[in-house]
Symmetry: C2
Subunit: 337 residues, 2 copies
């Protein structure tokens, strides 16, 4: 008695199969997906219907190999730990979608992981590669330069890998410092970040110093922390500044999260914000809008950075320009200052 040989395993579908099922040539199927307008409406809908029925999805790898180009952009993110890159990724997706591209992202928390991610993405032969400024593996720059894949570095300055896209961090730092000075603050403490993501904000401190110096105020109330994540850092800062007995009347934090942590700590200690001490954050996070008092912050137009990155990647003319693409920012004065 012959067993019913029923390979439940759905055999790999190819364009060939769809073509056969729809009664057209493989080339027509290909055209339906890539250049729909080249195919007669009737034929196209028929082919697409059959394809959907079979669950056929074109093999992008084969397509890329044959056509030499894909419609996928690769992005590397330094972390997902906090929400600061949310609007950036949204901008990337919007910009890409408008031009018929998809965005795949890889998360890399160390320079080594980043390098590996870039190799994978380059291996996939993405149409463009969006990096984020930060500490990179030395090898990365060379690799990017040798590759013919367009590269942009977001939040980067003059020495970007590929072309830089981002807002003028120095100008934002100046503006925020001037805002505090204008409010009558005199002893302004500045919190710097060492390591991770540091390069992304390396212009904050010099700009702060310059403004303070220009106003004849002390520019040496500076403290450096290791990581800008978590509320804990904010508490730490307040502790440290008070331990050193520095009577500061304002505090510039590297992120809203740190600033929020600082405010929590001030509340705990009964230090009135903003009366006794003003606190400013950076980045316009959700939390800054919600805590009491609401937090003064710098709002970068991160979605514009994402969209700008895509524009640079997909437009050779844009890419050829040397100067970084500058996006905007805004100082949001709120209750905490």
């Amino acid at each position: 008695m012959p067993e019913a040989i029923d390979s439940r395993q759905p055999r790999k579908l190819t364009m060939q199969d769809v073509a056969r099922a729809a009664g057209v040539s493989p080339m027509t199927v290909s055209n339906c997906f890539r250049y729909p307008e080249r195919v007669q409406e009737k034929t196209r809908s028929q082919v697409l219907r059959v394809a959907a029925e079979l669950g056929y999805v074109p093999n992008l790898s084969a397509g890329l190999l044959a056509a030499g180009s894909s419609r996928v952009i690769g992005a590397v993110l330094p972390s997902m730990r906090n929400s600061s890159f949310y609007r950036y990724t949204a901008g990337l997706r919007e910009g890409a979608a408008e031009r018929g591209h998809a965005v795949i992202t890889m998360i890399a928390e160390t320079p080594e992981e980043e390098l590996a991610a870039v190799q994978t993405l380059l291996g996939l032969r993405v149409a463009g590669l969006a990096l984020v400024a930060g500490p990179h593996a030395p090898e990365l720059r060379r690799l990017a330069g040798l590759s013919s894949t367009p590269v942009v570095e977001s939040w980067a300055g003059e020495d970007a890998i590929g072309r830089g896209v981002g807002y003028d961090v120095g100008a934002a730092s100046s503006a925020l410092t001037r805002h505090l000075i204008a409010q009558g603050r005199r002893r302004i403490g500045f919190v710097d970040v060492a390591g991770g993501g540091g390069m992304r904000y390396s212009m904050r401190l010099p700009a702060f110093r310059q403004e303070m110096f220009a106003a004849g105020l002390p520019d040496d109330l500076v403290m450096t922390i290791r990581a800008a994540d978590g509320f804990g850092a904010g508490a730490q800062i307040v502790d440290d500044f008070l331990a050193r007995d520095r009577r500061i009347d304002a505090l510039l934090c590297p992120t809203d999260v740190v600033a929020a942590g600082a405010i929590f700590e001030c509340n705990r200690r009964g230090l009135a914000v903003p009366v006794e001490i003003a606190v400013a954050g950076w980045g316009d996070y959700d939390i800054g809008r919600q805590i009491t008092p609401t937090l003064t912050t710098v709002a970068p137009f991160s979605d514009a950075i994402g969209r700008g990155a895509i524009a640079v990647l997909l437009d050779a003319e844009e890419r050829a320009r040397a100067a970084p693409l500058r996006t905007g920012f805004e100082i949001l004065p709120r209750e905490s200052t």
Copy 2:
């Protein structure tokens, strides 16, 4: 005068080029990357050195096409808006790295975007596809079923697409409810989420009701909100519960973020937490550890979910099992209850 024709454009490098430069056959270059142990140490290091010098990165698409399999896992995330998926993605990356795979992720905020993302990932012929439970496009399940790519759905229950991986949300909800009851709370308000991500937590409410009923307590103090993001929702909840004049003595929130918002609102109104009202969150976010009072919450072992998802995807035996892969969770009692 003949112009110097100097195509700065680095011509596309192929394995062929590397082979020529290294004085070996293309096949040997291929082996160096794919099966290093098959090649003599001396030859291998020489080839790899030449490749690095030229900036050659193997074309994964071509490799996939030829070999029929890739070492890339695709993951779709519902959002990056908050940090709840951070540990999940970390688990995915760790699990994948251990088995020599890379993870690429796509962010999708609507069922339509999710479907498009799945199509792209399937088009890339990833070795496995990791989904997250939530509202899906109807087409998605069919597509996943027809495809021969392994699929898992994280945070999913019995009716998962592919195999489900996640902790027992119902059990966690029961445990948290019992915790509050044990603390002497009697009128416990429950906040449910409609829409986005709702399915991921659909077992929370029934479990809550059952525990309350079993304890002879009111199980109808339920409120539904649309989105679980942002502190605003927390404030809203407190407003609404008070507006309806329901004297609740405890509040179960869908996420720590919402719970934090609720606590902020309570502070604003002078409602003492936990004396007058206990507040519990869900998800063990950073903020829950930092606010005053610290927040009681449910800590899912999200990295275990990520690692489990990879294990299921890459191990056919695992994949064949029907019951969802269960990961653990923990109730973290803190100051707010």
